[in-house]
Symmetry: C2
Subunit: 194 residues, 2 copies
Amino acid sequence: MSPEPNPARHDRDSVARSALALLDEVGLADLSMRRIAAGLDVQPSALYWHFANKQELLAELADRITATIPSEPTDVVATARGIRDALFTYRDGAELVLSTYALQLGSSQAQTALADALRAQGAADVEDRSAAILHFVLGHATLVQQRMHADSHGALPETDDVDVTAGLDRVFDLGVTALAGVISAPPTPPRARA
Amino acid sequence: MSPEPNPARHDRDSVARSALALLDEVGLADLSMRRIAAGLDVQPSALYWHFANKQELLAELADRITATIPSEPTDVVATARGIRDALFTYRDGAELVLSTYALQLGSSQAQTALADALRAQGAADVEDRSAAILHFVLGHATLVQQRMHADSHGALPETDDVDVTAGLDRVFDLGVTALAGVISAPPTPPRARA
DNA sequence: ACCTGAACACCGTTCAAGT
DNA sequence: ACCTGAACACCGTTCAAGT
Protein backbone atom coordinates (compact mmCIF):
# COMPACT_ATOMS: atom_id res chain seq x y z
CA MET A 1 0.00 0.00 0.00
CA SER A 2 2.91 2.37 0.57
CA PRO A 3 3.61 4.52 -2.49
CA GLU A 4 6.60 2.63 -3.80
CA PRO A 5 9.48 4.67 -5.16
CA ASN A 6 9.09 4.72 -8.91
CA PRO A 7 11.82 2.63 -10.57
CA ALA A 8 11.05 4.13 -13.98
CA ARG A 9 14.15 5.67 -15.50
CA HIS A 10 13.92 7.70 -18.64
CA ASP A 11 16.14 9.08 -21.35
CA ARG A 12 15.86 11.90 -23.83
CA ASP A 13 13.90 9.76 -26.23
CA SER A 14 11.27 8.53 -23.80
CA VAL A 15 10.72 12.05 -22.47
CA ALA A 16 10.30 13.43 -25.98
CA ARG A 17 7.92 10.65 -27.00
CA SER A 18 5.75 11.16 -23.94
CA ALA A 19 5.72 14.93 -24.45
CA LEU A 20 4.69 14.49 -28.08
CA ALA A 21 1.78 12.28 -27.09
CA LEU A 22 0.75 14.80 -24.45
CA LEU A 23 0.94 17.62 -26.99
CA ASP A 24 -1.58 15.78 -29.12
CA GLU A 25 -3.92 15.37 -26.14
CA VAL A 26 -3.85 18.81 -24.53
CA GLY A 27 -2.41 21.20 -27.11
CA LEU A 28 0.57 23.53 -26.99
CA ALA A 29 -0.91 26.01 -24.52
CA ASP A 30 -1.41 23.32 -21.87
CA LEU A 31 1.84 21.47 -22.48
CA SER A 32 3.67 22.34 -19.27
CA MET A 33 6.84 20.82 -17.88
CA ARG A 34 4.86 19.79 -14.82
CA ARG A 35 2.25 17.97 -16.92
CA ILE A 36 4.93 16.20 -18.92
CA ALA A 37 6.61 15.16 -15.69
CA ALA A 38 3.33 13.88 -14.28
CA GLY A 39 2.80 11.79 -17.39
CA LEU A 40 6.16 10.14 -16.74
CA ASP A 41 5.50 9.64 -13.00
CA VAL A 42 8.41 11.84 -12.19
CA GLN A 43 9.08 15.16 -10.47
CA PRO A 44 9.27 18.24 -12.73
CA SER A 45 12.89 18.81 -11.87
CA ALA A 46 13.78 15.40 -13.33
CA LEU A 47 13.13 16.74 -16.82
CA TYR A 48 16.07 19.11 -16.48
CA TRP A 49 18.44 16.18 -16.47
CA HIS A 50 17.39 15.43 -20.07
CA PHE A 51 16.73 18.92 -21.43
CA ALA A 52 18.32 22.21 -20.46
CA ASN A 53 14.97 24.01 -20.51
CA LYS A 54 11.49 23.94 -22.02
CA GLN A 55 12.56 25.64 -25.22
CA GLU A 56 15.07 22.88 -25.93
CA LEU A 57 12.37 20.26 -25.36
CA LEU A 58 9.98 22.06 -27.71
CA ALA A 59 12.71 22.27 -30.35
CA GLU A 60 13.17 18.51 -30.10
CA LEU A 61 9.44 18.00 -30.61
CA ALA A 62 9.50 20.29 -33.65
CA ASP A 63 12.42 18.29 -35.06
CA ARG A 64 10.53 15.05 -34.61
CA ILE A 65 7.47 16.45 -36.37
CA THR A 66 9.45 17.74 -39.34
CA ALA A 67 11.53 14.55 -39.50
CA THR A 68 8.46 12.74 -40.87
CA ILE A 69 8.44 14.90 -44.00
CA PRO A 70 8.95 12.59 -47.00
CA SER A 71 12.15 13.31 -48.91
CA GLU A 72 11.67 11.18 -52.00
CA PRO A 73 11.82 13.40 -55.06
CA THR A 74 8.40 14.40 -56.37
CA ASP A 75 6.79 17.51 -57.72
CA VAL A 76 6.48 20.72 -55.73
CA VAL A 77 2.80 20.35 -54.89
CA ALA A 78 3.25 16.85 -53.49
CA THR A 79 6.25 17.99 -51.46
CA ALA A 80 4.29 20.91 -50.01
CA ARG A 81 1.41 18.58 -49.14
CA GLY A 82 3.85 16.28 -47.40
CA ILE A 83 5.10 19.18 -45.28
CA ARG A 84 1.57 20.30 -44.44
CA ASP A 85 0.48 16.80 -43.51
CA ALA A 86 3.51 16.33 -41.27
CA LEU A 87 2.53 19.54 -39.45
CA PHE A 88 -1.03 18.23 -39.15
CA THR A 89 0.10 14.95 -37.58
CA TYR A 90 0.11 16.43 -34.08
CA ARG A 91 -2.20 18.98 -32.52
CA ASP A 92 -0.72 22.50 -32.83
CA GLY A 93 2.14 21.01 -34.85
CA ALA A 94 2.24 23.92 -37.28
CA GLU A 95 2.32 26.54 -34.54
CA LEU A 96 5.05 24.66 -32.70
CA VAL A 97 7.25 24.36 -35.77
CA LEU A 98 6.59 27.96 -36.80
CA SER A 99 7.58 29.34 -33.41
CA THR A 100 10.66 27.12 -33.18
CA TYR A 101 11.96 27.39 -36.70
CA ALA A 102 13.19 30.95 -37.09
CA LEU A 103 16.65 30.04 -35.89
CA GLN A 104 17.39 27.52 -38.62
CA LEU A 105 15.22 28.56 -41.51
CA GLY A 106 17.62 28.22 -44.41
CA SER A 107 18.98 24.85 -43.40
CA SER A 108 15.64 23.15 -42.80
CA GLN A 109 14.93 19.81 -44.37
CA ALA A 110 11.57 21.05 -45.55
CA GLN A 111 13.08 23.85 -47.60
CA THR A 112 15.69 21.53 -49.07
CA ALA A 113 13.00 19.15 -50.26
CA LEU A 114 11.08 22.02 -51.84
CA ALA A 115 14.21 23.36 -53.51
CA ASP A 116 14.97 19.94 -55.00
CA ALA A 117 11.46 19.66 -56.41
CA LEU A 118 11.68 23.18 -57.85
CA ARG A 119 15.00 22.47 -59.51
CA ALA A 120 13.63 19.24 -60.99
CA GLN A 121 10.93 21.20 -62.74
CA GLY A 122 13.34 23.85 -63.95
CA ALA A 123 12.07 26.77 -61.85
CA ALA A 124 13.99 30.01 -61.47
CA ASP A 125 14.91 31.65 -58.14
CA VAL A 126 14.91 28.27 -56.41
CA GLU A 127 16.18 29.55 -53.05
CA ASP A 128 13.74 32.43 -52.73
CA ARG A 129 10.87 30.39 -54.12
CA SER A 130 11.38 27.48 -51.70
CA ALA A 131 11.52 29.93 -48.79
CA ALA A 132 8.31 31.60 -49.94
CA ILE A 133 6.50 28.27 -50.25
CA LEU A 134 7.66 27.24 -46.79
CA HIS A 135 6.48 30.53 -45.28
CA PHE A 136 3.12 30.11 -46.97
CA VAL A 137 2.70 26.51 -45.83
CA LEU A 138 3.60 27.38 -42.24
CA GLY A 139 1.25 30.37 -42.11
CA HIS A 140 -1.57 28.50 -43.80
CA ALA A 141 -1.23 25.35 -41.71
CA THR A 142 -1.07 27.34 -38.47
CA LEU A 143 -4.26 29.22 -39.28
CA VAL A 144 -6.09 26.10 -40.45
CA GLN A 145 -5.08 24.12 -37.39
CA GLN A 146 -6.19 26.91 -35.05
CA ARG A 147 -9.50 27.17 -36.83
CA MET A 148 -10.02 23.44 -36.60
CA HIS A 149 -9.46 23.55 -32.87
CA ALA A 150 -11.73 26.57 -32.38
CA ASP A 151 -14.38 24.87 -34.50
CA SER A 152 -14.37 21.72 -32.42
CA HIS A 153 -14.99 23.82 -29.31
CA GLY A 154 -17.83 25.77 -30.88
CA ALA A 155 -16.04 29.02 -30.12
CA LEU A 156 -16.30 30.91 -33.37
CA PRO A 157 -18.86 33.04 -35.21
CA GLU A 158 -21.57 31.41 -37.31
CA THR A 159 -20.66 30.72 -40.92
CA ASP A 160 -22.95 30.14 -43.88
CA ASP A 161 -20.12 28.41 -45.70
CA VAL A 162 -20.95 24.94 -46.99
CA ASP A 163 -17.60 23.38 -46.19
CA VAL A 164 -14.80 25.45 -44.73
CA THR A 165 -12.21 22.73 -45.09
CA ALA A 166 -12.77 22.36 -48.82
CA GLY A 167 -12.26 26.10 -49.24
CA LEU A 168 -9.03 25.98 -47.31
CA ASP A 169 -7.79 23.11 -49.46
CA ARG A 170 -8.43 25.18 -52.55
CA VAL A 171 -6.48 28.06 -51.00
CA PHE A 172 -3.57 25.74 -50.26
CA ASP A 173 -3.39 24.33 -53.78
CA LEU A 174 -3.76 27.73 -55.40
CA GLY A 175 -1.02 29.15 -53.17
CA VAL A 176 1.50 26.40 -53.76
CA THR A 177 0.98 26.19 -57.51
CA ALA A 178 1.19 29.96 -57.90
CA LEU A 179 4.39 30.12 -55.86
CA ALA A 180 5.88 27.18 -57.74
CA GLY A 181 5.06 28.69 -61.10
CA VAL A 182 3.51 25.48 -62.43
CA ILE A 183 0.10 24.20 -63.53
CA SER A 184 -1.77 22.39 -60.76
CA ALA A 185 -2.05 18.63 -60.31
CA PRO A 186 -5.46 17.24 -59.22
CA PRO A 187 -5.95 17.97 -55.47
CA THR A 188 -5.80 15.28 -52.80
CA PRO A 189 -7.72 15.65 -49.49
CA PRO A 190 -5.38 15.88 -46.46
CA ARG A 191 -5.68 13.85 -43.30
CA ALA A 192 -6.01 16.76 -40.90
CA ARG A 193 -6.57 16.86 -37.16
CA ALA A 194 -7.67 19.62 -34.77
CA MET B 1 5.61 59.72 2.67
CA SER B 2 2.73 57.31 3.04
CA PRO B 3 1.95 55.47 -0.22
CA GLU B 4 -1.05 57.48 -1.27
CA PRO B 5 -3.97 55.60 -2.75
CA ASN B 6 -3.65 55.87 -6.48
CA PRO B 7 -6.42 58.06 -7.89
CA ALA B 8 -5.70 56.89 -11.43
CA ARG B 9 -8.82 55.50 -13.05
CA HIS B 10 -8.65 53.75 -16.33
CA ASP B 11 -10.93 52.62 -19.11
CA ARG B 12 -10.69 50.03 -21.85
CA ASP B 13 -8.78 52.39 -24.09
CA SER B 14 -6.08 53.40 -21.62
CA VAL B 15 -5.52 49.79 -20.61
CA ALA B 16 -5.14 48.71 -24.25
CA ARG B 17 -2.78 51.58 -25.04
CA SER B 18 -0.57 50.79 -22.07
CA ALA B 19 -0.55 47.10 -22.92
CA LEU B 20 0.42 47.86 -26.52
CA ALA B 21 3.35 49.97 -25.37
CA LEU B 22 4.43 47.22 -23.00
CA LEU B 23 4.19 44.65 -25.78
CA ASP B 24 6.67 46.69 -27.77
CA GLU B 25 9.05 46.83 -24.81
CA VAL B 26 9.03 43.26 -23.52
CA GLY B 27 7.55 41.09 -26.29
CA LEU B 28 4.56 38.78 -26.33
CA ALA B 29 6.09 36.07 -24.12
CA ASP B 30 6.64 38.51 -21.25
CA LEU B 31 3.37 40.40 -21.63
CA SER B 32 1.60 39.25 -18.47
CA MET B 33 -1.54 40.63 -16.90
CA ARG B 34 0.49 41.38 -13.80
CA ARG B 35 3.05 43.38 -15.77
CA ILE B 36 0.34 45.32 -17.56
CA ALA B 37 -1.28 46.08 -14.22
CA ALA B 38 2.03 47.22 -12.74
CA GLY B 39 2.50 49.59 -15.67
CA LEU B 40 -0.84 51.16 -14.80
CA ASP B 41 -0.10 51.32 -11.05
CA VAL B 42 -3.01 49.05 -10.39
CA GLN B 43 -3.65 45.59 -8.97
CA PRO B 44 -3.88 42.72 -11.50
CA SER B 45 -7.49 42.08 -10.63
CA ALA B 46 -8.39 45.60 -11.75
CA LEU B 47 -7.81 44.59 -15.38
CA TYR B 48 -10.76 42.20 -15.20
CA TRP B 49 -13.13 45.10 -14.88
CA HIS B 50 -12.15 46.19 -18.41
CA PHE B 51 -11.50 42.83 -20.09
CA ALA B 52 -13.07 39.47 -19.38
CA ASN B 53 -9.72 37.69 -19.68
CA LYS B 54 -6.27 37.88 -21.22
CA GLN B 55 -7.40 36.49 -24.56
CA GLU B 56 -9.91 39.30 -24.96
CA LEU B 57 -7.21 41.86 -24.20
CA LEU B 58 -4.85 40.28 -26.74
CA ALA B 59 -7.63 40.30 -29.35
CA GLU B 60 -8.10 44.02 -28.75
CA LEU B 61 -4.36 44.58 -29.28
CA ALA B 62 -4.48 42.58 -32.51
CA ASP B 63 -7.42 44.67 -33.67
CA ARG B 64 -5.52 47.87 -32.97
CA ILE B 65 -2.49 46.66 -34.90
CA THR B 66 -4.51 45.64 -37.95
CA ALA B 67 -6.58 48.82 -37.78
CA THR B 68 -3.56 50.76 -39.03
CA ILE B 69 -3.57 48.88 -42.36
CA PRO B 70 -4.11 51.47 -45.12
CA SER B 71 -7.35 50.91 -47.02
CA GLU B 72 -6.90 53.32 -49.93
CA PRO B 73 -7.08 51.40 -53.17
CA THR B 74 -3.68 50.53 -54.64
CA ASP B 75 -2.08 47.55 -56.29
CA VAL B 76 -1.76 44.18 -54.59
CA VAL B 77 1.94 44.46 -53.79
CA ALA B 78 1.51 47.82 -52.07
CA THR B 79 -1.46 46.48 -50.10
CA ALA B 80 0.52 43.45 -48.96
CA ARG B 81 3.41 45.69 -47.92
CA GLY B 82 0.98 47.82 -45.95
CA ILE B 83 -0.24 44.75 -44.08
CA ARG B 84 3.30 43.55 -43.38
CA ASP B 85 4.40 46.98 -42.16
CA ALA B 86 1.41 47.21 -39.84
CA LEU B 87 2.42 43.86 -38.33
CA PHE B 88 5.98 45.15 -37.98
CA THR B 89 4.88 48.28 -36.09
CA TYR B 90 4.92 46.48 -32.75
CA ARG B 91 7.24 43.80 -31.46
CA ASP B 92 5.75 40.32 -32.08
CA GLY B 93 2.87 41.98 -33.89
CA ALA B 94 2.73 39.29 -36.58
CA GLU B 95 2.70 36.44 -34.08
CA LEU B 96 0.00 38.15 -32.05
CA VAL B 97 -2.25 38.72 -35.05
CA LEU B 98 -1.61 35.23 -36.40
CA SER B 99 -2.54 33.55 -33.14
CA THR B 100 -5.61 35.75 -32.64
CA TYR B 101 -6.95 35.80 -36.16
CA ALA B 102 -8.19 32.31 -36.85
CA LEU B 103 -11.65 33.07 -35.52
CA GLN B 104 -12.42 35.83 -38.01
CA LEU B 105 -10.33 35.05 -41.03
CA GLY B 106 -12.76 35.66 -43.85
CA SER B 107 -14.10 38.92 -42.53
CA SER B 108 -10.74 40.55 -41.83
CA GLN B 109 -10.04 44.02 -43.09
CA ALA B 110 -6.71 42.90 -44.43
CA GLN B 111 -8.25 40.29 -46.70
CA THR B 112 -10.87 42.73 -47.91
CA ALA B 113 -8.20 45.23 -48.93
CA LEU B 114 -6.29 42.50 -50.79
CA ALA B 115 -9.45 41.32 -52.53
CA ASP B 116 -10.23 44.87 -53.68
CA ALA B 117 -6.74 45.27 -55.13
CA LEU B 118 -6.97 41.90 -56.88
CA ARG B 119 -10.32 42.76 -58.42
CA ALA B 120 -8.98 46.11 -59.62
CA GLN B 121 -6.28 44.32 -61.57
CA GLY B 122 -8.71 41.78 -62.98
CA ALA B 123 -7.43 38.69 -61.18
CA ALA B 124 -9.35 35.42 -61.07
CA ASP B 125 -10.22 33.50 -57.88
CA VAL B 126 -10.19 36.69 -55.85
CA GLU B 127 -11.42 35.12 -52.59
CA ASP B 128 -8.96 32.22 -52.57
CA ARG B 129 -6.12 34.38 -53.81
CA SER B 130 -6.59 37.04 -51.14
CA ALA B 131 -6.69 34.36 -48.46
CA ALA B 132 -3.50 32.79 -49.79
CA ILE B 133 -1.70 36.13 -49.83
CA LEU B 134 -2.81 36.85 -46.28
CA HIS B 135 -1.60 33.45 -45.08
CA PHE B 136 1.73 34.01 -46.79
CA VAL B 137 2.16 37.50 -45.32
CA LEU B 138 1.31 36.30 -41.81
CA GLY B 139 3.67 33.32 -41.99
CA HIS B 140 6.46 35.33 -43.54
CA ALA B 141 6.16 38.28 -41.17
CA THR B 142 6.03 36.01 -38.12
CA LEU B 143 9.21 34.21 -39.15
CA VAL B 144 11.02 37.43 -40.05
CA GLN B 145 10.06 39.11 -36.82
CA GLN B 146 11.20 36.13 -34.76
CA ARG B 147 14.49 36.04 -36.62
CA MET B 148 14.99 39.76 -36.04
CA HIS B 149 14.50 39.29 -32.33
CA ALA B 150 16.78 36.25 -32.17
CA ASP B 151 19.41 38.15 -34.15
CA SER B 152 19.41 41.09 -31.79
CA HIS B 153 20.08 38.73 -28.90
CA GLY B 154 22.90 36.93 -30.69
CA ALA B 155 21.11 33.63 -30.19
CA LEU B 156 21.34 32.02 -33.60
CA PRO B 157 23.85 30.07 -35.69
CA GLU B 158 26.54 31.88 -37.69
CA THR B 159 25.60 32.89 -41.19
CA ASP B 160 27.83 33.76 -44.12
CA ASP B 161 24.98 35.63 -45.72
CA VAL B 162 25.77 39.20 -46.71
CA ASP B 163 22.44 40.69 -45.69
CA VAL B 164 19.67 38.47 -44.39
CA THR B 165 17.06 41.21 -44.45
CA ALA B 166 17.59 41.92 -48.14
CA GLY B 167 17.07 38.24 -48.91
CA LEU B 168 13.87 38.17 -46.94
CA ASP B 169 12.60 41.23 -48.79
CA ARG B 170 13.20 39.44 -52.07
CA VAL B 171 11.27 36.44 -50.75
CA PHE B 172 8.37 38.67 -49.76
CA ASP B 173 8.14 40.40 -53.15
CA LEU B 174 8.49 37.15 -55.06
CA GLY B 175 5.79 35.55 -52.94
CA VAL B 176 3.26 38.33 -53.23
CA THR B 177 3.73 38.89 -56.94
CA ALA B 178 3.51 35.16 -57.68
CA LEU B 179 0.34 34.81 -55.61
CA ALA B 180 -1.18 37.90 -57.21
CA GLY B 181 -0.42 36.68 -60.71
CA VAL B 182 1.14 40.00 -61.75
CA ILE B 183 4.55 41.35 -62.79
CA SER B 184 6.48 42.92 -59.92
CA ALA B 185 6.76 46.62 -59.14
CA PRO B 186 10.18 47.89 -57.97
CA PRO B 187 10.72 46.86 -54.31
CA THR B 188 10.60 49.30 -51.39
CA PRO B 189 12.53 48.62 -48.17
CA PRO B 190 10.26 48.15 -45.13
CA ARG B 191 10.63 49.85 -41.78
CA ALA B 192 10.97 46.76 -39.68
CA ARG B 193 11.54 46.28 -35.97
CA ALA B 194 12.65 43.35 -33.83
C1' DA C 1 -17.79 52.88 -12.06
C1' DC C 2 -13.55 51.23 -10.86
C1' DC C 3 -10.31 49.38 -7.66
C1' DT C 4 -8.08 46.63 -3.52
C1' DG C 5 -6.78 42.45 -0.92
C1' DA C 6 -6.58 37.99 -0.43
C1' DA C 7 -6.80 33.71 -2.08
C1' DC C 8 -6.59 29.51 -5.47
C1' DA C 9 -4.49 26.65 -8.64
C1' DC C 10 -1.09 26.82 -11.32
C1' DC C 11 3.83 27.98 -13.94
C1' DG C 12 9.53 27.29 -15.23
C1' DT C 13 13.77 26.67 -13.04
C1' DT C 14 17.60 25.76 -9.60
C1' DC C 15 20.09 23.00 -6.56
C1' DA C 16 21.44 20.22 -2.85
C1' DA C 17 20.81 15.65 -1.74
C1' DG C 18 19.65 10.92 -2.49
C1' DT C 19 20.29 6.04 -5.08
C1' DA D 1 23.14 8.15 -14.46
C1' DC D 2 18.92 9.70 -13.05
C1' DC D 3 15.74 11.25 -9.64
C1' DT D 4 13.59 13.64 -5.22
C1' DG D 5 12.36 17.56 -2.21
C1' DA D 6 12.18 21.97 -1.32
C1' DA D 7 12.37 26.38 -2.58
C1' DC D 8 12.09 30.85 -5.57
C1' DA D 9 9.93 34.00 -8.44
C1' DC D 10 6.50 34.06 -11.08
C1' DC D 11 1.51 33.15 -13.69
C1' DG D 12 -4.21 33.95 -14.81
C1' DT D 13 -8.40 34.37 -12.50
C1' DT D 14 -12.16 34.93 -8.91
C1' DC D 15 -14.60 37.40 -5.60
C1' DA D 16 -15.91 39.82 -1.61
C1' DA D 17 -15.24 44.28 -0.11
C1' DG D 18 -14.09 49.05 -0.46
C1' DT D 19 -14.75 54.15 -2.56
